[in-house]
Amino acid sequence: MTLLAVNELSKYFGGVKAVDGVSFGVDHGEIVGLIGPNGAGKTTCFNLISGLLTPTRGSVSLLGHSLGGLAPYYRSRRGLARTFQNIQLFGGMDVLENVLTGCHQRQEIGAFRALWPGRGVRRAETRAEERARELLALVGLAERADFPADALAYGEQRRLEIARALAQEPRLLMLDEPAAGLNSRETEDLMTLLQELRERGITLLIIEHDMTLIMGLCHRVVVLDHGQVIAAGPPSEIRRDPRVIEAYLGREEDDGDL
């Protein structure tokens, strides 16, 4: 069943065609990689899907319902969650609170009732906290719960972003370069975590330059170059696709290696 459908999506910044007629889908339970050289338009795609940018043309739909014109917070309620290539934690909060922020849309308590002190409110908050701690344990940050978010090491911040996104209980989790800036040890930990998510049946759309990670994890890979899809298919085919090799080898500045 198609969960996410991206249809002829385009975004022009003035003369720059950052995304140009991109179409692809993500099925329920599937792990899809979105790869391509720097500047290919991957992050812009994420911004269009999550509603941070308005497309020049094209549409995005989730479970057959168009997301056109919906603000990011409504899309998040429909089941989209994401992380950012340049980490965007709430620096003024501690680690646990960051994850709790992810629980925001799953509040059991109404907006006005939350103002009234009472057992129901406290219990709901305790439950949310328990769930947040479970997620922190899942990403290996259980001991860091009380740390200020910006005091974490880089790799930990990346994992905290994933925990916060998971707290949204998304239908689709979109990760923008989760391994960027990680050392090989941290990348391995990340791989283990993502495999765990895969086993739990979480649907993932991952932008990543680390090909070991992409090839080892994804069911399907979509390759972007100059804002267009140049190839799509299972990792084994993508690896051998001449257009993909060309796109990567044709440029020096890429850190992607096939």
Binding site: L52, Y73, G92, T101, H104, Q105, A114, E125
Partner: protein, 289 residues
Amino acid sequence: MSAYFLHLAILGGIYIILAISLNLIIGYAGQVSLGHAAFFGIGAYISALTSLYWGFPFLLAALSAILFSGVCGLLLGLPTLRLKEDYLAIVTLGFGVIVDLVFLNLEITGGPDGLAGIPSPRILGLSFRSPVMYLFLTLFMVLLTLALTYRLVHSYHGRALRAIRDHEVTAQVMGINTPAYKVAIFTLAAALAGLAGSLYAHYITFINPESFGLHTSILALCMVVLGGMGSIAGAVVGALALTVLPELLRSFKAYQDLIYGGLLVALLIWRPEGLLGRGKLSLKFISRE
């Protein structure tokens, strides 16, 4: 207790409510408001007018003041809170000036003379004419305000507000309806300022536009910044300090604004988060980044 001390305590209580309400906008929602005295004034005038013309008892008059100020906040907030901070500063400043002009020029508000003979509160046959009784009434309202804001900032709403202050876009991605939160906070802050205005009107029993101009907006802003943005206790300390300080500086009255200005600048340099605050005053609306 001397009458003078009582007077300062009552005014201090009223300004605590005003400072807490402004702190919700500035310290918690991270927005700018340079016209907060307008809501204070609207509350004062509505409360005075409904008592004088319709004979509303105090509680009903105060409730009218709260609702009317709140609706004004909502109507101002709905279109403007989508604006960037620098525009919001200008819009709220303009709003403050316009409301002040309205008070000054309407016939019903008594123009520059204002309104006199505003009745002292009477609740369930109990008169609050004496300063001691009025202090109790004020303290009760202060406690209500403190309880409400404390619950608000310690509930998940408080977390959502801090998320908005930290990173508005990311907050949206977390499913937080940021425009709704900003409008709701602005409305609540306006309503609480209206309550403060009502308390002020029925205490002084005489109001005119002078008490609700730019000077008062700036004073409220100073209270928040001095005490500390995003801290309830800070707003309390700031309000009390700036109620008492002018009395201590009475003999330097001509220099009062100068001293306030100097104090504010000194604070921004040495302790930008205020005495008890956490967040820093956002000067984004002055220095475009």
